[in-house]
């Protein structure tokens, strides 16, 4: 029996799956969702980790299986690929906006070569918009974030690290 759903339908269902540590952003906006394949009545979802040791991957995998089963798809497989390696450039524009609204400064683009080479690109405070900010630590609350402080509003904030 063939599945009555199209790839777009499956993708829409998958939009219920968010990053467990940043629950406002979906795995599609994050660029973690790489492919959806429908064969007969089974669905294969391909995801890629943000970091090798990202503990959120197991949760995302379970969530994907859960939402697809809930929408009536019984045969679900989730495949993880490492290549091409995930980059913060894959975070969509809507994803970047959601990060900002959530209080996390979106990552600089990798084309801003200073970010990768160790220089300090301008980082804007997600709270007050000031660019007078200072790096506190390269490593923040999760592997994918760095910790910053705003000198204008004095608030600490996370920056999604350029990768």
């Amino acid at each position: 029996m063939d599945l009555a759903l199209s790839i777009t339908d499956v993708q829409t269902v998958l939009d219920q799956v968010t990053d467990p540590e940043i629950p406002v952003i979906t795995i599609r906006e994050l660029g973690v969702l790489r492919a959806v394949k429908i064969e007969g009545d089974s669905v294969e979802v391909t995801i890629t980790p943000t970091y090798s040791g990202c503990p959120a991957m197991d949760v995302m995998r379970e969530d994907i299986e859960k939402v697809l089963r809930a929408s009536g798809i019984e045969k679900v497989s989730v495949k993880q690929v490492l290549s091409p390696a995930w980059t913060t450039d894959w975070i969509s524009e809507s994803g970047r906006k959601k990060l900002l609204d959530y209080g996390i400064a979106p990552p600089p683009h990798t084309s801003d070569i200073r970010a990768l080479k160790g220089g300090v690109p301008v980082t804007t405070c997600p709270q007050c918009g000031s660019t007078d900010t200072v790096l506190v630590s390269q490593f923040g609350s999760t592997a994918c974030k760095a910790l910053y402080k705003c000198n204008t509003c004095q608030e600490p904030f996370d920056l999604f690290k350029c990768l």
């Binding site: 970091y51 040791g53 990202c54 503990p55 995930w86 630590s137 592997a143 910790l147």
Partner: protein
């Protein structure tokens, strides 16, 4: 040694370096000298353990005997571990941890960069991911080494002592054995002499910036690559493996 055996040994070695290094860094979790560093070391440990999972899963597939990443991590004895000795040494004080990370990261980064050109597709994929993470690791350890070396007289001396003491464990990183020579011929692994050149350049540049002296080369310890370890690995594994050894097959 067949090509398959060589590849298995090499991939286990890569996994063990990341796993043992990651475990040692994880020992700072909850004990860091300041909150930011506590978090940083836990994050770096997580990266390394994630890399180890990729390598050990692959190693299990190469071997073809049905061993999983967990079997390889939790059910091998110290003599079956193939990590470099420098990764297993106790964490010591924070200057020593930073010095060890720096000496290792300066080797790990060019190695991962070279592996992104491996003729082995899987090693290439793992490296493409790891290289981004290790870039941050080296940046972190270099910055802290400079902070210690160029800091107070006390922090300078602690950093210099650590570098001097650890130096004897850097030699084996660059001495190829049969495994590495075989794999270098087929382009699976890089030539260690090429990695050494990049390591030397990073060491000279960073030590200079940190106002630290490069130790003179003397006797070098070795054995990690063939499973002959210091007295420190056994107790570390005993702690790391205790759950799986006590309750075989336990799951979260």
């Amino acid at each position: 040694m067949t090509n398959q055996e060589a590849l298995f040994r090499y991939v286990v070695r890569m996994g063990d370096n990341s796993l043992v290094m990651g475990h040692r860094l994880s020992e700072w979790c909850g004990h860091g000298p300041q909150l930011e560093e506590d978090i940083a070391q836990a994050n770096i440990a997580l990266d390394l353990i994630g890399q180890a999972r990729n390598y050990l899963t692959y190693a299990g597939e190469i071997e073809g005997k049905g061993r999983s990443e967990d079997d390889l991590a939790y059910l091998r004895t110290d003599r079956e571990y193939l990590n470099a000795l420098i990764t297993e040494l106790p964490k010591g004080d924070y200057a020593r941890t930073i010095a060890r990370s720096f000496l290792f990261d300066a080797f790990h980064l060019p190695l991962q960069q070279a592996l992104t050109k491996s003729t082995d597709e899987r090693l290439k994929e793992i490296a493409e991911k790891a290289v981004k993470e290790v870039t941050y690791h080296l940046r972190h350890s270099s910055e802290w080494l400079v902070r210690f070396g160029d800091g107070t007289a006390k922090s300078h001396d602690l950093a210099q002592d650590a570098v001097d003491d650890l130096w004897r464990y850097t030699g084996e990183l660059f001495i190829p054995d049969e495994t590495e020579e075989m794999l270098a011929k087929s382009g699976v692994a890089p030539k260690l002499s090429d990695i050494k050149k990049e390591w030397d350049a990073t060491i000279v540049r960073t030590l200079k910036e940190a106002d630290l002296k490069r130790p003179t080369d003397g006797w070098m310890a070795s054995g990690g690559k063939k499973g002959v370890h210091t007295e420190h690995l056994g107790p570390m594994l005993a702690e790391m493996q205790t759950l799986q050894r006590t309750f075989p097959g336990a799951e979260w």
